[in-house]
Symmetry: C2
Subunit: 456 residues, 2 copies
């Protein structure tokens, strides 16, 4: 295995935090695991230790891998890690990136090594996976309701007394269930909760300040619970009217701060610091700016952003959102977050002059916001990939196939051949990561350096 | 582990075929594997051997599991297995069910034990997984193009000389690539190929009889290859005009038969039997009836259907398609295929009078054809689930949440509470299975009997 990178090659590039070092043993176990033939993208005919992948010197452009294959560009990930660390430092915010996006131990570890305060997750099973791979501070950005899930969260808190776990609550019923459960389970320390403020017509969360304040009082008074902070999610404010969305985001952030002030005024917070959390991947600048105004409370406020998609960005929805954020922040596109995730597939069939059938489908690339975007094509052996001409687009996907439609007058219609490669960007990292148990981390020449695992 | 069902509990209910018995060792390895906390649906706080799941006596209606959880109804699966075996016997067809639907070793094994001739798959990595778990006859219903994939297929053929592997081809370029690759790899036996006939405007496959016949001649003449049969996929013929779709399906099946007759007339087939394959999950009766007419050739014809979704059916698109098939076959709904796959989630929040937020989302249930259908709701401890009232529907899903909208005048709007369960049917099994590494097989009372693994 000489030449194979050590586990978590990203981590070598930045100073390791204590949290990241502590995770090295579980990450090592992933490098030692045997990968069996059958893993998407891997060109293996016998079991291979994961840590030996780099030594194989596969190159995607040489078509060494199986196709489709999901690749993560190491340089873009590294750039984005550093970009977000600087952003948070500049705005005085902490980052608990939403781990549901990638569900990847190596990426969690890289995020923690690059200054993340903790990892946000959406379910207790996700928290269990993060815990297993060394994450010791989890913000469950979701209501915690199912008895088995409450029990599992309590078990993690017991397994390591240093494990910090926060969850949301938005109803009296939720407070009562949690209080009864942790009391029955005899949890040795209070369960810290954030009251979720919601938006009319949107997802969970109290709809009024009065409701939210009432829930906050109940949490503060309930046996076994403690009020840790206030939470909201502004990311659902996406309409066709961008200016209105922006104003609503700013208003919502101001209401979160108001709620926090009122709860603090009633003396409901008892922990050392008060958590104030919001911030998906589209408007985290508004959130950070709004949170920075929250001062003069009974104790320090910890503003926690939760973007998950900053890490890979994309070539669709989030790229557009980030372009707007860049403009607001005065950042050039080159300086901003870079797309890091691509799906490469092969031309399987050229059944009609303007149609190519590709070896990827709904099992391989997200399709919930937009279909994948064909970026480049490449004939293995050629010097380098060529840009996909204007007008070429993925017009449809079946489970295992994509339909690349080319304009009738484009030269590529005659040129693109069975066996050529097509590199696609995606729109929405969350629904692409969850289609790949293993992604390949590549250098700028598409040389495969190591593997990234996901657990969905 | 007393009380735990033996691996592949389905298999005990029907006579085991030789193929199924041969798979018992790899299936046993799945029962012996340790499941770690973090697997969706499992309410575990410490590692548990998979084979011990039945002995835990979890019941979904008691909310013993984590939520969301994916359940497979054992009785419905068993019914569907037997239904399809009888259907194929009646029509004189063989079944190579499309394994991409479930990618589940236990379900492959149950299908083979219930008379399936082989397993259809969409990629070589899928074939590698099936091979690993004992499948020894694979129809790759796809073009085989990537060098790594050709090499991997050849490796499987070498690993077991009894492993039968068939792939498709639809172009001269494809024939040339395959012939060169298997010659270079020195494959000891010819690679059997089916020529794919396609449909104008649809996916892969030769667009004309002349093209298809030319490719068939090339396969027959190419070193290292042999012409095994003719293939098509009629399942893409779904427009708003059902009568026209049906006529086009019948026409297409007739053209497949014509092509086969012409290729046979030229003496291009040399194997003992000629494969003739089509048949997704919507029109397999048309295909079987059409194939039954193909007689009087130089050697026996083996008609192979490939439906993948018959095994679980669904509560949406395929249920509708199967209802129409039932009507054509003179089968009552009760006698027909049953929906076997459900996703159960919990009410996390009741933020508005007509809205409930559920703990499942795009990571858990298919959304590519229709959103999930809310079937029942249940309060753990109550006698039994109640039907979801008319007008209640999942109106939206985010990655991890579903929005259940209830009519303003429905009593359930006041009744449904945080902690209640909602059982949903899905539309499109393929894009639900791929969201679950592990599903729970349940009896008719939602008692959990054993686990079903998937490998995506």
């Amino acid at each position: 295995m000489r030449g194979a990178p050590s586990p978590g090659a990203y981590l070598k590039r930045t100073a390791l935090s204590g949290a990241a070092r502590a995770t090295s043993a579980p990450l090592l176990s992933l490098e030692k695991q045997l990968l069996h033939p059958g893993v998407k993208g891997l060109p293996i005919t016998a079991p291979l230790p994961q840590g030996a992948i780099g030594a194989q010197q596969w190159n995607v452009l040489r078509a060494d891998t199986s196709f489709p294959v999901a690749v993560l560009k190491i340089s873009a990930i590294q750039h984005n890690l550093e970009w977000m660390r600087r952003f948070c430092e500049r705005h005085g915010a902490q980052l608990a990136p939403h781990g549901k996006t990638t569900m990847s131990p190596q990426l969690f570890s890289a995020q923690l090594a690059n200054g993340a305060w903790g990892i946000t997750l959406a379910s207790v099973t996700q928290a269990q996976t993060a815990f297993r791979y060394g994450v010791r501070r989890v913000l469950l950005a979701n209501q915690l309701v199912a008895p088995a899930d409450i029990k599992a969260a309590v078990a993690l808190m017991r397994q390591d007394s240093g494990f910090e776990f926060f969850a949301l609550v938005d109803s009296s019923a939720g407070v009562a269930r949690l209080s009864q459960a942790v009391t029955r389970l005899g949890l040795e320390r209070p369960l810290p909760l954030l009251v979720e403020l919601g938006l009319a017509g949107k997802r969970a969360g109290c709809r009024t300040m009065e409701e939210a304040l009432a829930v906050a009082r109940e949490v503060a008074a309930a046996p076994g619970l403690e009020l840790a902070g206030i939470e909201g999610y502004e990311g659902l404010l996406t309409s066709k009217d961008q200016e209105r969305d922006h104003q609503e985001v700013r208003d919502f952030v101001a209401r979160l701060a108001d709620l926090l002030r009122q709860a603090d005024g009633e003396g409901l917070f008892t922990r050392e610091r008060i958590l104030l959390s919001a911030g998906g991947s589209a408007y985290f600048d508004f959130v950070a700016n709004g949170f920075a105004q929250v001062k003069g409370l009974s104790r320090p406020v910890l503003p926690v952003l939760r973007s998950g998609c900053y890490l890979t960005n994309d070539h669709g929805h989030y790229q557009d959102m980030i372009a707007k954020l860049n403009a607001r922040e005065g950042v050039t596109p080159e300086q901003g977050l870079r797309p890091a995730l691509e799906i490469w597939s092969m031309v399987l069939s050229r059944p009609e002059p303007t149609l190519a059938i590709l070896s990827m489908g709904k099992r391989d690339a997200s399709y919930d916001i937009d279909l994948p975007r064909a970026l480049v094509w490449h004939r293995p052996g050629a010097a380098e990939p060529g840009a996909m001409p204007e007008g070429c687009r993925i017009e449809k996907m079946n489970d295992q196939h994509a339909y690349l439609r080319m304009p009738a007058d484009a030269a590529i219609g005659a040129e693109l051949a069975v066996g050529d490669l097509v590199g696609c960007g995606i729109s929405h990292p969350c629904t692409t990561f969850d289609k790949w148990p293993l992604l390949l981390a590549v250098d700028d020449d598409y040389g495969v350096r190591h593997a990234i695992n996901t657990f969905f």
